[in-house]
């Protein structure tokens, strides 16, 4: 082992790891980031190919599921429960932002205080207003398209670029929302519609989940990482951490990892930050066992891996007479509604959900549920290109029975125990999804849909809650500054630190938390030893 005198070791180079590393690198901190994947060659992205949709239907380098990609740097995730979660993540510089849609809403202030307001789950130990400056700063760093002034959310500064176009399907949904007099607004996106800083604006190709070689989508390999590296931060790719080590006093000492050649290396640092997502983080903590932490690091109360949240979802479609061209345009969401976001006890459930217009994939995906045989062409021509997607993203409240554990049998390519994710919908979520189904159908019908298709519930694969933040050490894993309660120099900064899931996409909150945590780590620099 080399004596490298590293101040901060960051594990994971995705949304959180990138923002946090950049922020600390601005202050001159000596940082190393270990990332189990590599830099993604933009010329290999499936969005460059017309048959990109095959990445959804069978094994391939860019399948959304690590279980179907089979890259060496991926690790298996087995699933269980009444509603086994679909798993989407990416292991590379940029992390899951590589195939993320770029939808960039913020939590509501009420999302941080659900115990106080609604008597459910727990309050976060921080408020919206603690995060607001970081949300705003992050927007300026990466460039967000949208319009400020939404009455369903607190005021926010002028968006860096104008909104992405609504397209025919978006405009059709607007008619429905207007007819019903319901709230709607254009979505914020981490996709720039015009040139911003050194990146070109979106050209509307619409394959965002299959990589954006243009760089219009704010993947962190194109936003934060180049700046962090210019500041002197180091990123070690193809470096998979096996465990975090501790000294005799219980302080985190460093990490043992497999390097690109499969050799075991050890690295030491004064501060360690885990940014491996809501599955990777508990997996690493649970794999970091020692005599002081026999059940895994930070797990003295048994909560590491508990309270796994994924955002229950419904992908509802309306079939229209007219051509809707729902597959044309940026793949994310042209507009959303928070009409049913805040708690209304008369609805019979706590918290609420977001409805958002969602563009469809191409014809291969849309053919998936079309029957084979004589009626195939007739049914296909009814739905293509006549579909409009309206997605339900439901607030996910923590349940201790929804978990990420170590799989007892399966290991990754380095022999490290894989993760096992277990998820069942709560009664509250089921009631919420029933309500949302009716409301989504109402909008689609008001928009002119002749038929509404409601598939079974699924989830958004937003990986959250497994190292939750809280003021009470007995009921949480990290404190209000993302520091692990029982380890003075270990931090967890990613979706796993969410106390509740809220009813919106998580990435802007993950990045805001990362920038805030970087400041909190820096404030305590005199305690680094």
């Amino acid at each position: 082992m080399k004596n490298e005198d590293i101040d901060v070791l960051v594990i994971g180079a995705g949304a959180a790891g990138a923002a946090l590393t950049w922020s600390l690198s601005e202050k001159g901190v000596k940082l190393v980031c270990l990332e189990q994947g590599g830099w993604i060659d933009p010329s290999t992205l499936p969005s460059l190919k017309p048959d990109y949709e095959t990445q959804l239907t069978r094994e391939g380098d860019f399948n959304l599921s690590p279980n179907l990609r089979n890259r060496k740097e991926d690790y298996p995730v087995t699933t269980a429960g009444e509603n086994p979660p679909s798993i989407m993540m990416f292991n590379a510089v940029g992390g899951t932002t590589i195939h993320w849609q770029g939808i960039f809403p913020r939590f509501h202030p009420s999302d941080f205080k659900v115990k106080t307001l609604d008597g459910v789950a727990d309050d976060w130990p921080i408020s919206y207003w603690d995060l607001e400056p970081y949300y705003d700063f992050n927007d300026k760093m990466i460039g967000v398209s949208g319009v400020s002034g939404d009455p369903a959310n607190p005021p926010r500064s002028k968006r860096q670029t104008p909104p992405l176009p609504l397209g025919k399907m978006g405009n059709t949904l607007v008619k429905g929302f207007e007819k019903l007099g319901w709230h709607w607004w254009v979505n914020d996106h981490g996709i720039i519609s015009k040139q911003y800083k050194n990146r070109v604006g979106c050209m509307l190709h619409g394959k965002c989940m299959f990589g954006c070689p243009m760089g219009a989508k704010a993947t962190t390999d194109r936003t934060y990482w180049p700046l962090a590296l210019e500041n002197g931060a180091e990123i070690r790719t193809w470096s998979r951490v096996r465990e975090i080590t501790v000294d005799r006093t219980g302080k985190a000492k460093g990490a043992i990892y497999f390097d690109k050649d499969g050799n075991i290396q050890e690295i030491k640092a004064k501060v360690i930050v885990v940014c491996c997502n809501g599955i990777g983080t508990p997996r690493l903590l649970l794999n970091s066992k020692s005599s002081l932490f026999p059940d895994g690091l930070g797990n003295s109360n048994g909560l590491v891996g508990k309270n796994f949240m994924v955002h229950p979802a419904l992908f509802i479609n309306g079939i229209f007479e007219d051509v809707m061209d729902g597959h044309i345009g940026p793949m994310g969401s042209p507009l959303f509604s928070h009409e049913f976001y805040e708690t209304n006890k008369n609805r019979g459930f706590d918290r609420g959900y977001m409805l958002y217009g969602e563009r469809t994939f191409g014809p291969l995906s849309q053919a998936g549920d079309v029957p084979w045989g004589e009626e195939h062409h007739e049914v296909f021509s009814e739905i293509f290109p006549h579909q409009v997607g309206l997605t339900v993203l439901a607030d996910d409240l923590p349940e201790e029975t929804n978990t990420v554990e170590l799989d007892k049998e399966i290991v990754d390519s380095n022999g490290i125990a894989a993760a096992k994710a277990t998820y069942s919908l709560s009664e509250n979520s089921k009631k919420m999804l029933n309500h949302a189904t009716n409301k989504a159908a109402e909008v689609l019908e008001a928009s002119g849909a002749k038929r509404v298709i409601v598939p079974p519930p699924t989830n958004m694969s937003h990986l959250m809650g497994t190292a939750r933040m809280g003021a009470n050490e007995k009921k949480s894993v990290v404190d209000k500054n993302n520091k692990v309660h029982s380890v003075p120099n270990l931090f967890v900064v990613d979706g796993s630190s969410f106390t509740t899931g809220a009813g919106v996409n998580p990435t802007s909150t993950i990045m805001a938390l990362a920038l805030r945590a970087a400041d909190k780590i820096w404030e305590k620099r005199n305690e680094w030893k």
Partner: protein
């Protein structure tokens, strides 16, 4: 990508700069990946009788009608053969698929699948779907995949894939006047 083909930060930066310039120009047009015919029967993972079975089965999954071609009309068998050339591990799966269809056909009708009449072929596949769901799914998924990645089908269904690197679609910019009503509504979020 695997560890043998690693990208360094420097290579990544160079590629990003050149790709942005090229892609932003819209000048790059990439060839369609689908339905290129290059295999002959003699060097295929499936022999001619297996290919015949696959062709007839795929054509019952997606048959022709007055407007649309059948699966084999757009080269679905060749598509599968090309995949098997790239992914030879899949060959036993397709061999098993075609062989099992023939076993079913002989058991039920004492005839090879391609000699059955259309109704009998459909009945056999309905039965096959129930008794061999995983193998049937392979047949259906690859038939759909070959069909809906075909340039010819794209033209017929008027689908323009707009691969990144070509000029994107024309879309009207967002008209902020659409938000006038919502802008006038009182704030809806819980203030805390």
């Amino acid at each position: 990508m695997n560890n043998k083909n690693k990208w360094s930060r420097r290579r990544f930066s160079k590629a990003v700069i050149s790709a942005q310039l090229l892609l932003a120009s819209g000048a790059l047009t990439l060839p369609l990946a689908c339905a290129k015919t290059k295999k002959s029967e003699s060097d295929s993972a499936l022999d001619s009788s297996q290919q015949e079975t696959l062709k007839f089965a795929m054509d019952e999954i997606i048959p022709a009608n007055e407007k649309m071609p059948s699966a084999s009309d757009i080269g679905s068998v060749t598509y599968v053969l090309n995949i098997l050339e790239k992914l030879p591990d899949l060959s036993p799966l397709f061999q098993s698929l075609t062989d099992k269809i023939e076993v079913y056909s002989l058991q039920n009708s004492n005839s090879i699948f391609s000699d059955l009449n259309k109704e009998a072929r459909i009945n056999l596949l309905v039965n096959f779907e129930q008794t061999e769901p995983e193998l049937f799914k392979v047949l259906k998924d690859f038939t759909y995949e070959s069909y809906y990645t075909s340039e010819k089908v794209y033209e017929l269904i008027k689908y323009e894939p707009y691969p990144t690197g070509t000029l994107g679609p024309k879309m009207e910019p967002f008209d902020e006047k659409l938000l006038n009503r919502v802008k006038e509504t009182p704030s809806m979020y819980t203030k805390i």
